[in-house]
């Protein structure tokens, strides 16, 4: 019989048979994720071209991430992408969702279907579409021409200064729908009484937003931030298909560097070090955002 103090744990006696149920999944997981992860860490301490014998070089590959201009720039580009993939969508999503939440408009399910659609389309397809938008004879330049802004027309992805923001904007487009749908779901759970009380206190839409809406969706904001920041850091397909890291190295990002170094430059150890660093950064950021979310919720 179970004792009362165990109520928090799953029911049933301690059972050895659990290991048997766990075993097949764990074997695949260990062989194709855990072991390669450890191997990645190991490789990151070597200078290896993938063919000849590797040479142990300690932390040199990691030092290079700090000292090498190209790699430092790649991580810097990732920060820029975070602004486009996470900061802008969360801000825009908050405004849109709170406006939509105030007035119960019809057609919301259809709207949700449409703005969520980019999430299910393969990133390669998204990249093909946006390459077309940004092409010299593409729809963005056509739009500018129609508005009489011919002077602004250019090959967006071939421009050293504008290629990175152009790629980032695809992220804004991609993530805003997800964030808005997520925040709308959170806001629909806020009790109407809270708004009623705020309105009786004479709060306008803006104060209502800061006093009621914003504090109530902190959890959703944390989830949205985690998702979008990780998506920004993992941008590979988009860069590979739209710019290939160029022009020059103006859109290279850590994920792209992993691929580029391991399979195009033959610098396997360095690629592994970038991959390990990226993983650590992703883990740290998700833990940090969740920690902030929890602490805020507790206060």
């Amino acid at each position: 019989m179970r004792s009362p103090r165990r109520t928090g744990s799953p029911p049933g006696e301690p059972r050895r048979i659990a290991y048997l149920y766990l075993l097949p999944g764990f074997l695949v997981y260990a062989a194709f994720l855990l072991y390669p992860l450890l191997r990645s860490v190991q490789l990151s301490f070597y200078d290896w071209d993938g063919l000849t014998l590797g040479r142990w070089i300690g932390f040199a590959n990691y030092r290079e991430i700090v000292s090498d201009e190209g790699l430092r720039a790649a991580f810097g580009h990732a920060l820029v992408l975070i602004v486009f993939f996470a900061v802008v969508p969360v801000c825009v999503g908050l405004v849109l969702a709170s406006i939509l939440n105030r007035a119960k408009v019809r057609g919301l399910p259809f709207f949700r279907t449409v703005v969520f659609l980019p999430q299910v389309v393969a990133m390669v397809v998204v990249a093909v579409a946006w390459r077309r938008v940004y092409a010299p004879d593409g729809s963005l330049n056509a739009l500018l021409g129609a508005l009489g802004l011919d002077s602004l027309q250019r090959g967006w992805l071939g421009d050293y200064a504008l290629a990175l923001p152009a790629v980032g904007f695809v992220g804004t487009w991609f993530e805003t729908g997800l964030v808005t749908v997520l925040l709308l779901a959170g806001m629909s759970r806020i009790s109407g009484d809270l708004y009623e009380a705020a309105r009786l206190d004479g709060a306008g839409p803006v104060r209502e937003f800061f006093a009621v809406t914003l504090p109530s969706v902190r959890g959703e904001i944390a989830v949205a931030s985690t998702l979008t920041v990780i998506a920004a850091l993992r941008t590979f397909d988009l860069v590979y298909v739209t710019t290939g890291g160029g022009p020059g190295t103006s859109t290279s990002v850590p994920s792209y560097e992993v691929y580029h170094r391991a399979f195009e430059l033959g610098r396997v150890g360095s690629a592994a070090a970038v991959g390990v660093t990226l993983t650590v950064v992703i883990l740290a950021i998700s833990l940090l955002i969740n920690w902030i979310g929890d602490r805020e919720a507790a206060s």
Binding site: P14, S40, Q42, F111, V124, R234, Y240
Partner: protein, 266 residues
């Protein structure tokens, strides 16, 4: 309380945002169905041309084989491991679960480099297995997390009652819990299918044989090689996106709920 003006403003925002979200996709659709710039007939003819020139038949077959295998194997393994974590008590369950959680957050970039070189020395690169198995591992990490959450929330009274009736562990899982878990399993199935279908880095690294390319990979190469115009590329893009989009239109509640609740992976 809400004024008429505000209501109209809301509809305006809805429409503008929806148009913004859909325009790039419509651009592709329009080009794909429009007059051909490759000298063909245009319309559906574009798809036939893209299919023939871009070998999308081969790529779709490979994608379908990989996605279905990854879904079937990982759902099965996740049900087993999620059941162990969610319903049973055993030594080390906490740390072992955290080990699985690690896999949800770990990016493919962390594993793809050693995986390629290790599989190459085993002679396994350029095979179906090199594309499918790493994705089974990633999906099992997510699926274990997902099914554990479901089994934990499923009625404890039910499990206790089944135990008192003398149901074996196996019967408890397959005849009592799994039928009730159908919605959770459907959600996991569509998510894993979508992730596998859309995956790019793993097939890109693991495969050079053209016959083993998945659909997104085939599209990326088609874009690189076929530069005479946009129509056929657009048609190819539509072909690659359609299976998941159709699934989404029918099961969108599973997609949205799954990606928002269990959304730690992507």
């Amino acid at each position: 309380m809400i004024s008429r003006a505000e209501k109209s403003a809301n509809y305006l925002i809805l429409v503008v945002f929806a148009v913004f979200a859909i325009t790039p996709i419509l651009t592709v659709l329009q080009a794909a169905f429009g007059p051909s710039d490759a000298g063909g007939g245009g319309g559906f003819g574009n798809f036939a041309d893209a299919w023939r020139i871009g070998h999308f038949g081969t790529y779709l077959r490979m994608s379908l084989a990989v996605s279905v295998s990854v879904v079937v194997v990982s759902v099965l393994l996740s049900i087993l491991s999620g059941f162990a974590f969610g319903v049973m008590r055993f030594r080390g369950s906490g740390p072992l679960f955290y080990l699985f959680l690690l896999g949800i957050m770990m990016p493919s970039e962390a594993i793809v480099v050693p995986l390629y070189f290790d599989l190459r020395s085993l002679g396994l690169t350029d095979t179906f297995w090199a594309v499918a198995l790493p994705q089974v591992a990633q999906s099992v990490a997510f699926g274990t997390f997902w099914m554990r959450a479901y089994f934990r929330s499923s009625s404890r009274a039910l499990v206790e009652a089944a135990r008192l009736d003398g149901a074996s562990t196996r019967r408890l899982l397959w005849q009592i819990l799994v039928p009730l878990a159908r919605p959770a399993i459907v959600t996991m199935t569509v998510l894993v299918f979508m992730w596998t279908w859309n995956e790019f880095l793993i097939p890109l690294v693991m495969v050079t044989d053209e016959n083993l390319r998945t659909a997104p990979l085939g599209l990326a190469f088609f874009q690189g090689q076929y530069t005479q115009g946009f129509t056929l590329l657009a048609a190819g893009a539509v072909i690659v996106a359609t299976p998941v989009v159709v699934l989404y239109l029918f099961l969108q509640r599973h997609f949205i709920a799954g990606m928002l609740e269990g959304a730690v992976r992507e």
